[in-house]
Amino acid sequence: MAKAIEESNRRMLRARDAIDRDFALELDLPTLARVAHTSPAHFIRVFKATFGETPHRYLQRRRIERAMYLLRTTDRSVTDICMEVGFSSLGTFSRTFSTVVGTTPTQFRQLGALPNAPSCFVKAWTRPSNFGEAR
């Protein structure tokens, strides 16, 4: 039983790594389920049981985290950053950003530049904690 959980965890982690790596692409459920060697319906359920949130929500947080990073480290336009992180609509991006972060992208940018740190830690620790909780 324990072995089965560990193998399932590792497969789900592989799919989560794919989200982290390919967040800007059009990642659909069947693609991620294939990475995890499972069916789409089973994938959503097991992913949520493993990491506490659905793959879609994890993907949204990853995209918003990247947007937060780009807003603070570049002078690219909000629209440009919106497209760069995988959103196709500026309206959806702005609404999602405000819901997750609690400020608009432009207000968030005013926080200023980030200090340098290994990017995997920046990714993990600057990610908004969850929808509506990142304040």
């Binding site: 560990e6 193998e7 965890n9 590792r10 982690l13 790594d17 790596r21 990491f51 340098n116």
Partner: protein, 140 residues
Amino acid sequence: MYQTITRSQLFVLDQDQARDFYVDKLGLEVSADLDLGFMRWLTVRVPGDPGREILLEKPGPPAMDEATAAQVRELVTKGAMGGWLCITTADAFSTHQTLKSRGVDITDEPSPKPYGIDFGIRDPFGNAIRIGQMFDTPPG
């Protein structure tokens, strides 16, 4: 007061598989592989850097009870145990190609950062490893 860090530790689920990965795929070398009776002492190191070893430890009794070991294994496979290595290389892109050709899980493709060019991989168990071609200026 201190001189250097000589050893650090990662939890692995299978030491034979760990040895295969860290040596044959990642390109480290075995520093020690000893049956101490109570445990297998398996350490690896970067070739040419004998001062720093990584202990590849299998969680389990009697060091920890089986229930705790199961929790540790679960966290490792979720990527949540916190085991993490950062290894430097002279050429991040070339190392990335080599590891990719050996079937290593690439979690993050190489890209330039303020501190260097680096990429991410995972070992077969879920531990994260960062490989970087670092610039001279340290992060900070």
